[in-house]
Symmetry: C2
Subunit: 314 residues, 2 copies
């Protein structure tokens, strides 16, 4: 494993982002990597503050993520939820018993006046994660999907309605604006490269870009900016990205992901199966790396992370 | 089973109180019984509002109480607590995964502005409990034990310190006074008899009597008032009652329990093993019933409840 002389800022959503973040964490030191995570999906369930993407990244880096479900913790039980359902709660959002500790602790600390950044650092440290995982903002910035059945908060759209309603638009609601978290702000100042992990451009990366000043700062960023396409062969590895693209009238492809990042990205990584689209992306002004981007094993993750860094630093 | 033509108000703390309350619930209709429960032990753990005595009574009447531990739900798991401990929380208060649903739901509803009475009714109804279980008050009235190591909130004294520190005094702290809950108020007006369940007189019944106006209203109560001693043969069936009595310089016995209720009680039920103390209690101005008061089986509970009612109504 080569060692890298660079500081990286990785932007991540849920499962796909967490996979590449883990790969990066395996080859960069804690000082070299900050993973900034989407919190547009955060929601209060049953009075508990749930941060789905932060938890997916945190659990993945801690080595306790459930690889089957894509969310939650391995060996999970659902005894609380079963009884909560008996109390008449509509328990469409699956909170496992182990996972609950995260939300209970987070909610308690937030109510005591700590910021989401501070809480996240405490939780991650307790789980043995040394690399920085930071929320995009400590303020509220909520992703709302306008659909044929009305406006839905993200989890409502994604989990309760299984991304089924046709989406017309995605909006982001703030309560008077959302500033970058201190960790995000520092990383934007100090990083040598920015890595867009293979996360949904509309639902995971767009909220991060919506944080005040972020889009402009990434536009003006002096270092290399490299993105990994979450769309492979016209399909999302996971989640509703491809379906949304179709509903927004764009062909679901890595090319259209790249279009979302024009002006914000210099280098674009696509999967071998999409090699034929490299020219289209180069036409957008980005250099393209074609390689395997499917991350099943931990070796896949480390290998892709290495290729991404090599590409950015060559 | 005879049917009774009476409305009973039962005052209960935790395990002992819950046992007799279950016996009463088996022979009185929901219209005939209100169980008023001590909330002086209520505490916020990890941001969740826990009402230990309400839950013990509720779980007991619902038939889901854990008979071994005396608290919580049968077949409980502790996956949340284990992880909460990994997050660095001091998890001396055992919250099981199933039990958690109660506290999460209660906390959520309380934060939404419902009263503890309203929340308790919802929870109990959802568990299939038709008899009224009501908190003594919807206000805060906290039991504090002054000990050799300082003042301790009740759970801190009882659970964390296992009732070990020598107690000097028991105090009740309110935030500007605590009024009877609507259900308690109604039962004080409408009941024909008051039953003191075999609960700790200092820690379970005294807080109920501390609620504004309650001691006076029970003094002036026109119907029969009957108490069952929680002290049998000089020992508490469960909990620190006997230890506290010794620390307060009184001999732990059913006689000294009766002394706590002078002016508040007409009839006193003691166990067969204490038959020799009947005269001492009669000397306090109470009629005495001597019978088995140890409730192991459900039959024991129903039988004692029947004897208590017969005694009160004869």
């Amino acid at each position: 494993m080569p060692s890298y002389d660079t500081n990286a800022l990785a932007l991540a959503g849920g499962v796909g982002g967490a996979k590449l973040a883990l790969g990066l964490a395996k080859i960069l030191t804690p000082e070299q990597l900050t993973v900034v995570v989407n919190t547009g999906d955060d929601e209060v369930f049953y009075g508990l503050h749930v941060s789905p993407d932060l938890d997916t990244v945190m659990y993945t880096l801690a080595g306790i993520a459930n690889p089957e479900s894509g969310w939650g913790i391995t060996g999970e039980t659902f005894n609380m939820l079963e009884r909560l359902s008996a109390y008449g709660e509509d328990t469409w959002f699956g909170l496992g018993d182990k996972d609950l500790a995260t939300h209970i602790r987070r909610t308690d600390l937030l109510r005591n006046g700590e910021t989401l950044s501070e809480v996240t650092a405490k939780l991650a440290t307790a789980l043995g994660v040394n690399h920085g995982i930071v929320p995009m903002t400590d303020d509220s910035l909520k992703t709302v999907v306008d659909t044929e059945i009305g406006s839905l908060a993200f989890q409502d759209y994604f989990v309760k309605h299984r991304s089924e309603p046709k989406a017309n638009a995605i909006r982001f609601e703030t309560d008077g604006g959302a500033s970058p978290s201190p960790g995000f702000d520092n990383a934007l100042n100090d990083a040598d490269i920015i890595v867009y992990c293979p996360s949904n451009p509309y639902l995971s990366v767009a909220p991060i870009l919506e944080v005040a000043g972020v889009r402009e700062r990434i536009k003006l960023f002096s270092g290399r900016r490299v993105a990994v396409s979450p769309i492979v062969g016209g399909e999302a590895i996971k989640g509703p990205a491809a379906k949304l693209m179709a509903e927004f009238g764009v062909e679901p492809s890595c090319v259209d992901v790249a279009k979302q990042y024009v002006g914000l990205c210099d280098l674009f990584v696509i999967d071998d199966v999409d090699a034929g689209r490299a020219n289209d992306i180069e036409a957008l002004g980005m250099d393209v790396l074609v390689c395997n981007t499917i991350m099943n094993s931990d070796e896949d993750k480390t290998e892709l992370a290495g290729k991404v860094l090599d590409f950015a630093l060559r």
